[in-house]
């Protein structure tokens, strides 16, 4: 097995066993594997390259279908690679598009884009697909720009927290009371960044049964933010004094809804009942071009029941059914704004953002 194949397999097995947790960590790992794959890949035209990347993507997504950032990273890389390829070949390949224009495509993609009808430009000649004499020439010519494209994605991922929180002080004002829950690295960075400019208070719900909120409270208070740790049960009682609810996301869907750690839905519903704004901090890589996942039961992912009702309860464990979902689905109506590293967006813009970030044909890898 080639080394790049091995790294794909090793990541896939890590994903399957949930040894990598957190969307950003997964995205980073995926990206590193893709970089390796692309650098070693042998291809003589664009379609071959795309297929290589996609097959790696499929393999990883299959390993852990619930970690959406894997697929998103692959889609993003594909999008960037195509862009680089377009600029490198100056649209010489675009003329093939009208040939495949059909009613179904028309429905799916809308009117043919202007650039596809652009006059054929003289190809630079350095990049020649399917060169019979030297099948590797295409890959050789393209690889530097491809690596650059992947590096761009990597850079973006590495600065994601900084970029999400760069405007934190515009969202959190002095003496505000913020409610958050769970442990989200993005929210943590956001709140800490705001604390450089503002004095405010955070109420953290401990978020049973994983109690990520406790970790969050610890981290925020050690950064000098006035922090109150409360049980989940008091969210409603305290909500009347909360100015803003700030949540993290697991995956954001095309309709503007999202998956977030359990407890987010009760907090968001309580906030709605008090007309308290709900703001979600998330890196752009969490935006997922999937439609059929946001469902109250569709993708419920259940955690270990023993964290809810431990074995110390004796025979009780055998007698009762324990439900311990990982995520809640939040409808777009419950969210006021997404703060991403790519600017602030209302839920209704996510759809458009997706179209700009990924290519439609990659929605199904």
């Amino acid at each position: 097995m080639a080394p790049e194949q091995r790294s794909v397999e090793s990541l896939a097995s890590k994903l399957r066993r949930r040894q990598i947790v957190g969307s950003r960590a997964t995205a980073l790992e995926t990206l590193l594997v893709l970089r390796q794959v692309v650098s070693k890949a042998r291809f003589s035209n664009m379609d071959q390259l795309v297929e290589i990347i996609r097959s790696v993507g499929r393999r990883l997504v299959e390993a852990q279908p619930k970690e959406h950032s894997v697929g998103n990273t692959v889609r993003k890389v594909l999008h960037h690679i195509r862009e680089e390829y377009q600029t490198a070949t100056r649209g010489s390949a675009a003329v093939s598009v009208p040939q495949s224009f059909s009613i179904a495509k028309f429905v799916l993609l809308g009117q043919p884009r202007q650039h596809t009808l652009a006059p054929k430009a003289e190809s630079k000649g350095t990049l020649k697909e399917n060169d019979p004499d030297d099948p590797d020439s295409f890959a050789r010519g393209l690889k530097p720009v491809l690596m650059e494209a992947i590096q761009d994605v990597l850079d973006e991922l590495e600065t994601v927290y900084d970029n999400v929180s760069k405007n934190a002080k515009d969202h959190i004002h002095s003496d505000e009371i913020i409610l958050t829950l769970g442990m989200s690295k993005t929210v943590e960075a956001f709140l800490k960044s705001a604390a450089h400019h503002r004095k405010y208070t955070v109420i953290v719900a401990e978020t049973a049964p994983l109690y990520g909120g406790r970790e969050m409270a610890q981290s925020l208070s050690s950064a000098g933010i006035s922090t109150f740790l409360v049980p989940d049960s008091s969210i409603f009682a305290l909500m009347s004094r909360v100015n803003k609810v700030i949540l993290g996301a697991h995956a954001i869907f095309a309709n503007g809804g999202m998956f977030a750690t359990t407890g987010s839905l009760i907090a968001a519903t309580a906030a709605r009942a008090h007309s308290t704004p709900i703001v979600v901090c998330a890196g752009q890589f969490k935006i997922t071009p999937l439609w059929n996942l946001y469902h109250e039961y569709g993708a419920l992912d259940f955690g270990d029941p023993s964290s809810v009702l431990g074995f110390e309860e004796g025979d009780l464990v055998d007698k009762v059914e324990v439900v311990n979902p990982y995520y809640d689905y939040l409808r777009p109506e419950l969210i006021d704004a997404f703060i991403t590293n790519d600017g602030d967006h209302p839920p209704s813009s996510i759809y458009r953002l997706l179209k700009e970030t990924y290519d439609d044909e990659d929605n199904e890898l």
């Binding site: 028309f106 429905v107 809308g110 009808l117 439609w291 059929n292 469902h295 929605n363």
Partner: protein
């Protein structure tokens, strides 16, 4: 080609019986009106002597109009025509000969119709992932795509179905018979019992005549009230729509639909001639029997009169719809309008 031939083309295309063709294609149980319309239009191209794009589009528009005026329910048919004509106008025509282009277009139309027949399966697959084991589903009237979804769901999960009777056409009975034959527990409910049954229902699943630009839905009359009740009960309302039913239309109200007809809900004005007879019958009941027997006949209201005075379809506002499942994905109502804008408002 000269101008005279274009005139000739127009006359010839009218001689081609497009509505008959449409009806003939529709005999195939699998083909729905928009697809039949697309196929009828491809046959029109085949029979059309049009030599330029302009002529062809004129002929297609004329054909579409002919079908629309003859059809009793032109909304979904119109969606098909519109899609095809928009496609034809946007089709890159750098072909050497126009005849070549026409064959290409015909082939495209037929290909699409073939492909479109798989859409219901695609939609069913999509929708089934939203159906939980043990779901109780409310559906309305009869819809092929809903049938296919329910049958597919039945293969994988336990479901039970309430179906409205869906007056005036009573197609709910057809749905119930088909479902029962397939072994799905099914109950026909009165259209007036929707609110009663809603508490037991997990979600509502309806087909569609058309999905319009607002993201709203046009479907067999009664859908709107089901959606309102579902909203009030906080139950999801899902619509199934093949993408060829996306229709560029923006109804502002129920009465802003294209098939409006003044007959519907017009209050019958008591004819002046009857007035004396009514007063006479009141003052003199014995004489009214003879003179009023003919006059009084209209006071017994027949089913035909009711259905004649009622609309076939109604419009459901987008905010009442949870999701639209289509072959291009499961869309929010806004998503539908984004597709429509992409196609027609470029």
């Amino acid at each position: 080609m000269s101008e005279s031939s274009s005139n000739q083309a127009a006359t010839q295309s009218t001689s081609f019986d497009i509505y008959g063709t449409y009806q003939r294609i529709l005999l195939n149980q699998e083909i729905s009106p928009p697809l039949a319309a697309i196929l009828a239009l491809t046959e029109l191209i085949e029979n059309s002597p049009a030599g330029t794009m302009f002529e062809l589009v004129t002929a297609l528009n004329a054909g579409a109009d002919a079908m629309k005026t003859k059809s009793s329910n032109p909304i979904s048919l119109d969606a098909g025509c519109e899609l095809f004509i928009a496609f034809v106008t946007l089709f890159p025509h750098d072909s050497v000969s126009f005849a070549d282009l026409k064959t290409k277009l015909i082939r495209q139309g037929q290909q699409y119709a073939d492909e479109a027949l798989t859409y219901r399966r695609k939609i069913a697959e999509l929708a089934v992932s939203f159906i939980k084991d043990g779901s109780v589903i409310l559906t309305h009237s009869y819809s092929r795509v809903v049938m296919q979804t329910l049958l597919l769901a039945h293969e994988r999960k336990r479901i039970s179905v309430f179906v409205t009777e869906a007056r005036p056409r009573g197609l709910g009975i057809k749905t119930a018979e088909a479902l029962t034959a397939a072994g799905i527990p099914c109950n026909v409910i009165l259209d007036s019992a929707v609110a009663y049954v809603m508490e037991k229902v997990d979600f509502v699943l309806v087909g569609s005549e058309a999905v319009v630009e607002s993201g709203g839905l046009i479907n067999a009359v009664g859908s709107n009230q089901i959606a309102i009740i579902a909203k009030a009960a906080n139950k999801p309302f899902y619509a199934l729509a093949e993408s060829y039913k996306f229709h560029r239309l923006f109804p502002l109200s129920q009465y802003d639909l294209p098939n409006q007809n003044a007959r519907i809900f017009s209050f019958p004005r008591p004819s002046p001639s009857r007035k004396p007879s009514i007063s006479g019958s009141l003052s003199n009941p014995s004489s009214a029997i003879d003179s009023g027997s003919i006059e009084a006949a209209p006071t017994t209201i027949t089913q035909e009169q009711i259905s004649k005075n009622n609309p076939d379809v109604d419009y459901t506002r987008p905010d009442l719809i949870s999701l639209v499942f289509s072959d291009v994905g499961s869309l929010t109502p806004e998503g539908v309008s984004q597709y429509l804008v992409g196609m027609f408002a470029g």
